[in-house]
């Protein structure tokens, strides 16, 4: 872990963000608050993972962080400054400091550009990072850094495998020397044998360069050995956060417990039927989230209070914050997993 300064690189303060959704061709469009009040900080050289299932708002957080989406309320702060208040030069600098690596390395690399052009494109847009005369050498150095053959700079993306393409995406993000990389499911599309290669690469780059990661994923297994801190997101809010080992060893929110229990593991051949927590039903629609605690419709601990009052994300006789009224109640084992 790299040294961490006091001011976070990235800070989300009561962030509310979303998009407009139209129901049916003639329906009136309405605002979906996919992110409904999120607080999160990422310090220099640190890895914070945002974990959640589809529709929980984790990708909306990513879009707000890289300024692809303007917050409805709350703030995105970079180096302590509200990014919506930045002037033109400040915004330009922000776009260099914060980079994004996507899930699908097949879709995110322009197939008509060589690796050299892909990596040097940003130097054209942000002059002053690398002098033109040094481009070839810098491209070669970047490729070497991410474990690719520097001689392959003249090749096109289709000449590489999925894992190699993700290395190119990472090299492209690094080209502008960012302080924060937002990784949105960067290994989800890769074969298992390749996933660990990419995670190890990201970890090594962090040690060498001190870059911070906001890592967004649905896969609890992937982040366990990679994250410094974890925030579990459910329907637009963070339900539990803490140091990685705190959350994994002592999960206090029923949703985190269910997620951990449901994540398949190679040791599961030993498991007995009914051992894992299987939640009832589907994730409710973010268009129409449940009242009170947004998890109460699927929660085996839910009582009247949960339907009426949204629990705050605070410590509750736990060593890390959890948004559950009954987090410290004796572990209720659901009958038949329900």
């Amino acid at each position: 872990m790299a040294a961490q300064s006091d001011t976070p690189v990235l800070e989300l303060v009561d962030l509310v963000a979303g998009y407009r959704s139209r129901q049916g061709p003639l329906g009136r469009s309405r605002a979906v608050r996919a992110v409904a009040g999120v607080n999160l900080a990422v310090r220099a050289g640190e890895t914070v993972c945002l974990v959640g299932e589809s529709g929980c708002g984790k990708s909306t957080v990513a879009r707000a962080v890289v300024s692809l989406l303007r917050p409805i309320a709350g703030e995105v702060r970079f180096d302590g400054r509200d990014v919506t208040a930045l002037d033109r030069a400040g915004r330009r600098d922000l776009r260099r400091q914060v980079q994004l690596v996507f899930q699908d390395p097949y879709a995110s690399l322009n197939p008509k550009m060589t690796v050299h052009d892909l990596l040097s494109e940003a130097w054209r847009i942000h002059p002053g990072i690398v002098p033109r005369g040094d481009w070839d050498a810098e491209v070669a150095a970047l490729l070497e850094r991410v474990g690719l053959n520097p001689g392959h700079a003249t090749r096109y993306p289709h000449q590489f495998s999925g894992g190699q393409r993700q290395r190119i995406s990472i090299a492209r993000a690094l080209a502008v020397r960012p302080r924060l990389i937002v990784c949105d499911e960067p290994v989800s599309a890769l074969d298992v044998s390749i996933q660990a290669q990419i995670l190890n690469l990201l970890a090594r780059l962090q040690r060498e360069l001190g870059v911070a990661y906001l890592f967004i994923t649905h896969d609890l297994g992937v982040v366990r050995h990679f994250a410094d801190r974890v925030a579990v997101m459910h329907l637009g809010t963070i339900v539990e956060s803490g140091q990685t080992e705190q959350v994994y060893e002592r999960p206090a929110h029923p949703y985190t417990q269910a997620l951990l229990s449901a994540a398949p593991s190679v040791d599961d051949w030993r498991a007995q039927e009914g051992e894992e927590i299987v939640l009832r039903g589907d994730v409710p629609s973010p268009l129409d989230p449940p009242s009170g605690c947004r998890f109460h419709t699927r929660c085996w601990k839910a009582r009247d209070l949960c339907r009426a009052e949204e629990p705050a994300l605070v410590r509750r006789d736990t060593d890390h914050p959890v948004a559950c009224h009954f987090a410290t109640d004796a572990h209720v084992v659901a009958a038949d997993g329900h």
Binding site: S54, V192, I194, N200, Y248, S265, D267, V278, V283
Partner: protein
């Protein structure tokens, strides 16, 4: 136990590429076989060949496929069509592409009963609602009138399972059935499949995820570059793998609940089917590889009771001990 389906030395070519190079597997009633492999390993083509559903450029070039005593390679297209849906059913990763977007879900499930059982409209609808209830779709009578896009991913996969199981098939082939689903929904679907298997259904699960396989299968075939490199009962294979690739795959699989196991990558990349390495296809990535591996492709041989491995040094891999739950140096 007698096998319902027995596939021997199956070979499939895809254009010029030998995509499946001699694979054997079998499955009996009330058991689940998993075919594990990464993209391009030939796992999906192997199962499509069983059903006679190979894409146009692909064809079976060798091997035998026997179903309940019948030779499926000798069957005509009509016979195979008759078999699909009634005796053997299949579900895929993406249920949305397998459903007709312009017909209600109830109508599409009911079609199975109208076409294959000759039932009338009302009776077919009633049976469709029954089938939907059976797979845990709440409020099935009302939901039968909904269109596929009105269902969530998990519910759509339930619809596919309801359709596949509608006519009480004896074998279900499930190709990455939960890969597109969230983990909490995946747990629901796997539980549903396990229940049907206990009730007598034979299943073949095709997956890249050793965790999903661990939760469903009793026996496993591991494929790499078009070949079966290892097979055996789940407990044996997961405790002590007999092929370096299985060992590597185990070590690479992340686990949310085991603090001691950091995923270890397998070096290099899977080979291109059109330009396979000489000798053993895994040798460029294999920590056990020696000169012999570069020149001689190992036979799949029995290395322990009920277990096979296609590695010259399988005994050495076995004696090395398990990858799982082993303290790291």
């Amino acid at each position: 136990m007698t096998e319902l389906l027995t596939v021997s030395d199956l070979a499939v070519s895809f254009g010029e590429v030998r995509a499946v190079r001699g694979v054997s597997f079998g499955v009996a009633e009330a058991t689940t076989l998993a075919i594990v492999g990464e993209s391009g390993s030939g796992k999906s083509l192997s199962s499509l060949a069983v059903l006679g559903l190979l894409p146009a450029q692909a064809q079976v070039t060798a091997g035998s496929i026997h179903w309940d005593g019948r030779d499926l390679r000798a069957c005509g297209a009509d016979e195979l069509r008759q078999l699909r849906g009634t005796d053997i059913a299949m579900i895929f990763q993406d249920p949305l592409s397998a459903l007709n977007p312009s017909l209600t879900v109830g109508y599409q499930i009911g079609e199975m009963f109208r076409r294959r059982r000759g039932l009338g409209r009302d009776e077919a609808r009633r049976r469709a609602i029954e089938a939907m209830t059976e797979v845990g779709i709440p409020d099935a009578a009302r939901r039968a009138g909904s269109y596929p896009h009105e269902f969530s991913g998990g519910m759509r996969q339930r619809v596919m399972i309801a359709m596949a199981l509608a006519l009480d098939p004896r074998l279900l082939i499930a190709d990455e059935p939960t890969t597109a689903l969230d983990v909490t929904v995946q747990a629901q679907i796997l539980r549903l499949l396990r229940k049907r298997q206990r009730d007598g259904l034979a299943m073949i699960i095709i997956s890249h995820d050793l965790g999903v396989v661990a939760r469903t299968a009793q026996s496993v075939v591991v494929m790499y570059a078009g070949r079966a490199v290892e097979s055996g009962p789940v407990a044996d294979l997961y405790t002590v793998p007999a092929h370096p690739y299985t060992l590597g795959l185990m070590a690479a699989s992340p686990s949310a609940r085991d603090a001691g196991r950091r995923p270890q990558p397998i070096d290099g990349y899977p080979p291109d089917g059109a330009a396979l390495p000489t000798g053993c296809a895994f040798h460029p990535r294999c920590p056990f590889a020696r000169q012999r591996c570069r020149t001689e492709d190992p036979e799949l041989r029995t290395v322990a009771p009920g277990r096979t491995s296609a590695c010259h040094f399988a005994e050495e891999v076995l004696s090395r001990g398990g990858a799982v739950g082993h303290p790291r140096a």
